[in-house]
Amino acid sequence: MEQLINDLKVKIKEALNLEELAPQDFDADAPLFGEEGIGLDSIDVLELIVLLEREYGIRLSNPKEGKAIFKTVRTIAEYIKENEKK
């Protein structure tokens, strides 16, 4: 799980162009959205949906599901673990 979380941080940083943020700067359990988070917005959610499909083969057809899945890096990792295609 920790390896997946670290990989995810790198991929998220690249996919969302989070240039001024080092992967180690965002806590796996810190919220990604909202004022307490790292300031991601609705387009970032859509880009994360593309990332899940491109990198892990997981298709999320309803963007409304994203709210719970993309809460933190750890929740994304857990969702990938549960749904990743073998």
Partner: protein
């Protein structure tokens, strides 16, 4: 104020305004389900020309986009006696993606298409392309109003057009904005827009002076027919400065555009408000809130996307024409797809065709980049705002000398950056603007260039903040070619089909003006124009005309162009108005 001489709509529903108007009065719709179209994995619903229609409309030597523009303009011209070759006649082309299918060739460039169309029509002046996302059609008409009222031209042929393709539909699908069902504007069950294609033309003239008319047409008691005889009184463009894709929840930009347009006008004269109504969840919601806040809750709304889909660059022209025809007949066309209101703002929308009174209407559009435009049309002429103001540009010239930006002439302040300096926009951002705006790295090259130039302009002119009414008016040649190439790679890569929403957004060049507005909290007008070349006289003419009639007193304006990541140029000034 300018007067409509003639109109045309070329769409899947007909080849003239009359054919189109009759078709939708008869309940026809262009919308159909598209499964497997362009090998797109998701089914969508759209208003597209049939293959038979495409074959009959095609013109040898022209792209389909150019062909429908030429046919639409030519049919509209056939009802007038305009001398199109006159130096006082101009073509204004409104489109969001033009010939994007020709990416990789010279034909891609929007100004190339405009020049080819203008040449085929026999015109001799340089055409202007408006690429202002979904509000382009109204922005183009406002430009016509300003250029004609300002005396720069006597006649303007405004053509709005869009041809759909895999590129556009994949992009909107990546934003989860496209419905697989016929769209339902303002309805409880709405779940997205339907792409549509069409070309629509309005030929405007300046009232009282029409030297371009070989035979003088009677202005007095002119019979209104298919839009002819209507006046575009005025209009306003305002930015949300909120988000490039999500509209302001309170409809602030649209409300401000409506209020500026309706100033001094009696609401009861409005027969209808012709809404944008794309049937997206947030777009319609925002529009309803702005309508209520503007005191227009009792004016019946017209929503036409259920007939044509969202025709993007054509929408503002096409929907204005249809609304002119309907208002002439004293009706509000049934908003196809609407059954029960699903918005929080109080609105007056009936599912069936209704009678209405009034001799004027308001047309609204909102689009990505936070832009909103309102335009007021009337059957009776009214004078527009006075034109006593004089535009002053205190341009600045700043040159990069040995790594330091320095003011060359304090009276003429222009910030110029280009790839020739060897610095990337990111270098300038890191080294010279103080950073602190992480979103910078999400921007494409065109937006980064304009963004850092605006930062430097503020710094060099010692401007701590700009008035919130400040406009942002940019011009370019290459449109959004770099992001267009990038987005195309995400939908045509050998690795798979993964259209990127964040890349697609930047395939609309007016996102540049939106980003600058968000950064500096500017709620004024924002427009992106494409020109054949960096014609400073024409740019000055457009900014001057816009400032005179645009009801704003300050603008950041200039040229921004990026052909690729290592070939870019930007030159910005602050324009001021003094009375």
């Amino acid at each position: 104020m300018i007067r409509v001489l003639s109109t045309n709509i070329t769409s899947p529903l007909g080849l003239t305004t009359e054919e189109n108007y009759r078709a939708i009065r008869g309940g026809a719709t262009a919308l159909r389900t598209c499964e497997g179209q362009w090998n797109l994995p998701e089914t969508f619903c759209a208003g597209l020309f049939t293959e038979e229609q495409k074959a009959s409309l095609a013109m040898q030597g022209y792209t389909f986009f150019e062909a429908i523009c030429i046919r639409s303009a030519r049919e509209a011209l056939s009802h007038t006696h305009i001398d199109v070759a006159s130096p006082k006649a101009i073509l204004i082309l409104s489109t969001t993606k033009g010939n994007v299918e020709m990416l990789g060739t010279k034909l891609y460039y929007p100004s190339e298409a405009a020049q080819r169309i203008a040449h085929e029509l026999g015109m001799t002046t340089k055409p202007i392309v408006v690429q202002n996302a979904c509000v382009s059609g109204l922005s183009a008409q406002l430009l016509a109003e300003r250029l004609l009222s300002g005396g720069f031209y006597d006649c303007a042929i405004v053509v709005g057009a869009e041809v759909q393709c895999k590129f556009i539909v994949a992009g909107f699908q990546s934003l989860k904005a496209v419905s697989s069902q016929p769209c339902r504007p303002f309805d409880m069950e709405r779940d997205g827009l339907n792409p549509g294609e069409a070309a629509a033309t309005i030929i405007f003239e300046k009232p009282q002076t029409s030297p371009l008319l070989k035979e003088r047409e009677s202005m007095v008691n002119a019979q209104c027919s298919m839009g002819k005889g209507w006046y575009l009184i005025t209009g306003a463009s305002r930015n949300d400065a909120y988000h490039n894709v999500s509209p302001s929840p309170k409809g602030d930009g649209l409300l401000s555009a409506i209020n500026a347009t309706m100033e001094g006008w009696v609401v009861s004269r409005l027969a209808t408000v012709s809404v944008h109504g794309t049937a997206t969840l947030f777009g319609d919601q925002m529009e309803s809130v702005a309508i209520e806040r503007a005191g227009l809750s009792d004016i019946p709304l017209s929503a036409l996307k259920g007939y044509y889909g969202h025709t993007m660059g054509a929408a503002g022209v096409l929907e204005a024409i249809i609304t002119m025809c309907a208002t002439d007949d004293g009706i509000v066309i049934a908003p196809k797809g609407f059954a029960e209101a699903g918005v929080s703002g109080r609105i007056c929308m009936n599912a069936t065709e209704t009678r209405t009174e009034g001799d004027a209407f308001l047309k609204l559009l909102s689009g990505f980049g936070g832009c909103n435009v309102a335009a007021l049309y009337s059957k009776k002429p009214l004078p527009g705002p006075s034109q006593e103001s004089i535009v002053h540009s205190y341009e600045s010239i700043v040159r990069k000398v040995r790594g330091q930006w320095s003011m060359v002439n304090s009276q003429r302040q222009v910030v110029r950056i280009s790839s020739e300096s060897g610095q990337t926009p990111a270098d300038i951002y890191r080294n010279e603007t103080g950073q602190g705006y992480p979103k910078f790295y999400k921007m494409d090259i065109l937006t980064r260039v304009a963004f850092v130039a605006a930062e430097l302009l503020m710094k060099q002119t010692g401007t701590a903040s700009l008035p919130e009414t400040c406009a942002v008016i940019l011009f370019g040649h290459s449109s959004s070619v770099v992001s267009d190439r990038h987005f195309l790679s995400t939908i045509s890569s050998a690795d798979g089909f993964f259209p990127s929403p964040s890349v697609f957004i930047y395939t609309l060049p007016n996102i540049t003006v939106g980003e600058i507005s968000i950064r500096h909290h500017l709620h004024g007008e924002t427009t992106f124009y494409v020109l054949p070349d960096k014609d400073e006289a024409l740019m000055r003419q457009i900014i001057t005309a816009s400032m005179v009639n645009g009801r704003w007193s300050m603008a950041i304006g200039g040229w921004v162009d990026a052909e690729d990541e290592t070939d870019f140029e930007c030159e910005l000034s602050i324009y001021n108005i003094t009375k």
